[in-house]
Symmetry: C2
Amino acid sequence: MTSRRPTDALPADALTYEQAGVNYDLIDPLKVAAQRAAAATATNLAPHGFTELTASRGESAYVVDVGPFYLASIVECLGSKALVADEMKALTGRSHYAGIAQDTIAMAVNDLITVGATPLVVQAYWAAGGSDWFGDAERAQALVAGWKAACDTCGVAWGGGETPALAGIVEAGRIDLAASCTGIVNPKTRLSTGDQLAAGDAIVLLASSGIHANGLSLARKLVERLPQGYLTEIAPGLSYGQALLAPTVLYSPVTEALFKAGITPHYCANVTGHGWRKLMRHPAELTYRFDRVPAVPPVLAFIQQRARLDDHEAYGTLNMGAGFALYVAAADAERTVEVARSLGIEAMVAGRVEAGPKRVVIEPLNVSFGADELQLR
Amino acid sequence: MTSRRPTDALPADALTYEQAGVNYDLIDPLKVAAQRAAAATATNLAPHGFTELTASRGESAYVVDVGPFYLASIVECLGSKALVADEMKALTGRSHYAGIAQDTIAMAVNDLITVGATPLVVQAYWAAGGSDWFGDAERAQALVAGWKAACDTCGVAWGGGETPALAGIVEAGRIDLAASCTGIVNPKTRLSTGDQLAAGDAIVLLASSGIHANGLSLARKLVERLPQGYLTEIAPGLSYGQALLAPTVLYSPVTEALFKAGITPHYCANVTGHGWRKLMRHPAELTYRFDRVPAVPPVLAFIQQRARLDDHEAYGTLNMGAGFALYVAAADAERTVEVARSLGIEAMVAGRVEAGPKRVVIEPLNVSFGADELQLR
């Protein structure tokens, strides 16, 4: 079992994420500079009497100690999934923007809850390529209805937002969707930035509904290889485009229910870009060993096959059926699964945390990812 | 002195904001639907034991009562000002993205403080048209440096953010900039959503640095009428483009210093889109009468003259030198001015709140705006 760069030794016609158009070599220097500058602003909190949780730097949400509880906040972008909705609208006449709204909120909420926060307020950022985007009443109403429904599912208030028309910045006919989310970690013992993470913990994986909103550049690129494009049937009556548009699962009902059940995860990982490599997001030197893998949603199995990705590349890029990971005390593992299932979200105790070098080991697939394969900080 | 729609009776060649490309008739139905749906989500806070401040709906930031203090949050878009920076870069070779960063943070922070909140955390939303946007190291570093400097000025921690490359959504070579901001109103008596606003209050106007980040569509459209375009001199050695790019003033140091000085504004208005019409943003039936107006920044005087806008149109669209309004007890007015000046921000006691129909009356200009000229809720 070897650890290797995801693009080594793939078939010549394999379609990797890097080939799908995002060049991290260009973005990363800026990201590093921004992370350093951002870290240096932590001292600005001192005059207010507050401090940042330095452990939250590099995690999915930023956390500040404001006294009686921790404050968590985040802004997240949908990415390019709306382009698939636009294509499917042209092909089928049906608007998928209710689901797109849920995807956008999921990007923010599912990240915010990783630190143990209860999401409280979501703000909408809907930047259209021109006023006329909003003139399609069916699409606009679907976006509004889906946004509200997702807020209701997550128990958050929709505080407001921005609906700018940005001709010249956003492309005509397109919309740039993002959400910000603010929450609190209350009581403070709910904090799950990983201080408690340790060998012996169980890893519970919550099922994804499909691709969620990560890997869409790859999924869109793959369409060029499909003679029937988005209308390619991947299962009886299910088109590739429709399957891609399955809305991202909202996981905050699970984390809230766990709290009510007396279970505090030691750590959480939202499985987004970098797929299962995200499961070693925490900086600790620990091995994450999986002896089971969840069922792969048909759309992800289809992408893996048609893009000719081996398991190392597929699991290193896509969620492959695992949308969210909860690292809990071994004694809490089965009950964690039950809590998720009681909310209609499939779950399994899939692995465990072990002493050892930092890596993710997926035994049934003979795949592992080493620490050098995830550079987030 | 009559109240009228801004576009009535202007010269035939006048260039109004509506003509500059944003059609609110298309956006407004969506906005209304979104506002209604958002308002209906307030009940989601009850299971958490919290309540929204309903008075904050329709204000510039959303406020939730979380017990020991109020939580305020917002997301704000820069708008199209970055397009001016891009044009000026092409003409002069100089990057203005440090200032653009300040503008973006100002959009969020200056709104957040209107409710009496201390801004604590800013998140960056930088969505580029492709990875290559970030490859221009000078521009990227200017954006980072300006963002950090603005955070330092406002005493906020830069929590993190998103730097997606959104080819197909954001135009190639462009960037969609936004900021979210979270803060707290602490103590709760700092809340300035207008409960205390009353006849007899003084209105202190804080000086703007220029156009700030509202009215740029109009300013950009005007360039088409200028033979020398952005390089047109509007004052000796000062080009139109450079003047437009003066960064927005950050007003949170003033509101924080006022608190330390024992002054709690009864209400605040960030003068953005709709210019001085925003000064009657509060729903109360009150008259806002001004007997003085601040000096008009050269770039705004230039726009008014070249776009052939009368005072009603100009003051109803642009800030005309007033970037932020503080409605304070009359006894606090002069001290409020002193506090602002001590921070290097020019200020004046310009008007007062009176019993009477809801309107803004600018006596020196013989201009007034009626309640029907501002529809925000």
